[in-house]
Amino acid sequence: MGAYTLKRLFALIPVLFIVSIVVFLITRLTPGSPAAIILGQGASPEQIAALSKEMGLDEPVVNQYFIWLSNIFHGDFGYSYFLNKPVLGAIWDNVGPTVSLAILAQIFGVVFALLFGIYAAKHKGTIRDESIMGASLLGISIPSFLLGSFLILLFAVQLRIFPVSGYVPLNAGLFEYLKYLVLPTITLGAIQAALITRMTRSSLLDTISENFVKTAKAKGLNERTIMLKHTLRVSFLPILTVIGESFAGLVTGAAVTESLFNIPGLGQLIVSSIERRDYALIQGAVLLITVAYVVINLVVDLLYAVIDPRVRNSYHD
């Protein structure tokens, strides 16, 4: 297991190297000097030259890359001149709502998906199964911002049950906190639920026809025990992968959902920094989210190997 983990960690190095180059290039692709963009149209050439020097823009590009990279290893992600604080600080201030939203949406998605997936697999081929599968196909075809808009129209504008938008931190009271997060959670969690439902159903159906399930039936175990203790346990591996993949996807889905519901999270921060052309912030946020995404995927892969020894061994081939 240790060797496998090490191998996987080494495989990350080229990936992260490419990621860092792409993120670095983002600011270099822009027409015009980054210093001129930061200072705005009213800046004099002297001011631009001074800031360029301060930012190290007069060095050759390769040197600039290594300076930038070494700063990042020292925890310096640059400075947001628009927000007037370090990039890392700005990201830290906005991470709370995104994480709350992602976790709630994932819980919502997994609970719904397991319930519906098991139900659909149990009633395979019936109208109940077909309607669940139809709904889940619809679920992956609706963009989250659209579902969110429909939910706002129905529950906030027409029925006035939930607030249209906004965010209240947890320390303002659990009820208020949840009230503001219900619609965003459904918006973000629906796609997760749809994806995981499809996987749960197909994985269960693959397992149900196996011999050990027939044996369990022949032994006279009741349906519930067979489903929960035997079938589900074996089918859980592919389900776990989808959950892992979708959790990583949540982070980006959150960007759109936050923008729709006006939640001051990471996504909102990125979108507003695009409008302001705040490149340091875009770079820092994109880099950090991508690294988080890569790490979550790695953890899921490792978990997968812990549960299923075949995965570990196949890596040696």
């Binding site: 190297f17 983002i26 692709l29 822009t30 963009p143 659209l146 979108v271």
Partner: protein, 302 residues
């Protein structure tokens, strides 16, 4: 009565034998439903200027935010523009961008995938780059590229193509690696066929069926991603209508004008649903396992 039934079944089986692929196509409900939805959206895209009663940019300040009526079927937006006409043009732009991105990503992905399956050194370099690009969450990468290039329709196509090349390249590479080990490739090499010839004329056609399925999904995801980008204000710049930026406008007026959100939204769902159905159906249709199963059953019957 009985005889009539018999002749009917005979004629049905005869038809099936004449063109088994077509029969399987039409017996595949997912594929047919998906194809109908896609065909409808293509028709809308092609005939948008003919169907639309108003210009997509035609402003009518006196009729701002008017609800759906006989003249304005889908109502009007905050500038008094006809939502129906804009939706039709929006479908056109969404499909055009989807098609352009899919074609560019497919061609480049095919080249990258084939080359890396054939040459080991290229494989290492190209696949590491693909892994790196793949590591980015797709909307985030598109946002980052758009923020660098600036808001222009052509830049949306560039950004989304870059995002989707790796997923195509990976599928092509894994299929091509299998083809490469086949005996006929070895025979071609022994006959002295050039690498270019082997790659273009013998390996490429053999990776098409997994590629086609992936392509329909890329098409669907492109349309969704473009809509999300435009919705975030980082995609197709206003005033050109795209389904995504119409929803962005709709969000601003959500209290007063539900029609600005609902109608463009329904069209996005229909297009993407059509592509997803088509993709699922195509996967079943092209899956060699299904064909083998049916052949086996037939053999057993004999």
């Amino acid at each position: 009565m009985n005889a009539q039934q018999n002749t009917e079944t005979i004629s049905v089986t005869a038809k099936k034998k004449r063109n088994p692929a077509a029969a399987r196509f039409f017996s595949n409900r997912l594929l047919v439903r998906g194809a109908i939805l896609i065909l409808l959206s293509i028709l809308i895209a092609v005939f948008a200027p003919l169907i639309s009663p108003f210009g997509s940019l035609q402003i009518d300040p006196a009729n701002r935010l008017a609800p759906p009526s006989g003249t304005h079927w889908f109502g009007t937006d905050n500038f008094g523009r006809d939502v129906f006409s804009r939706t039709m043009y929006g479908v056109r732009i969404s499909l055009m961008i989807g098609a352009a991105v899919t074609i560019i990503a497919t061609v480049l992905g095919l080249i990258v995938g084939l080359l890396s399956s054939y040459y080991k050194i290229l494989d290492y370099i190209l696949m590491r780059i693909c892994d790196g690009l793949f590591a980015f969450p797709s909307i985030l990468l598109a946002i980052a590229i758009m923020s660098a290039l600036g808001p222009k329709t052509s830049n949306v196509i560039i950004a989304l193509s870059l995002v989707f090349i790796p997923s195509i390249a990976r599928i092509v590479r894994s299929a091509a690696l299998v083809v490469k080990e086949k005996t006929f490739i070895e025979a071609l090499k022994a006959q002295g066929a050039s690498s270019l010839r082997i790659i273009c004329f013998h390996m490429a056609p053999n990776v098409l069926s997994p590629l086609i399925v992936q392509v329909t999904y890329v098409f669907a995801v492109t349309i969704l991603t473009e809509a999300s980008l435009s919705f975030l204000g980082a995609g197709i710049p206003a005033p050109t209508p795209s389904l995504g930026n119409m929803l962005y406008d709709g969000k601003l007026a959500i209290y007063n004008a539900w029609w600005m959100t609902v109608f463009p939204g329904v069209f996005i769902i229909l297009i993407v649903l059509g592509l997803n159905l088509f993709g699922d159906g195509l996967r079943d249709w092209l899956n060699p396992k299904n064909v083998m199963l049916k052949k086996k059953k037939r053999r057993k019957k004999r």
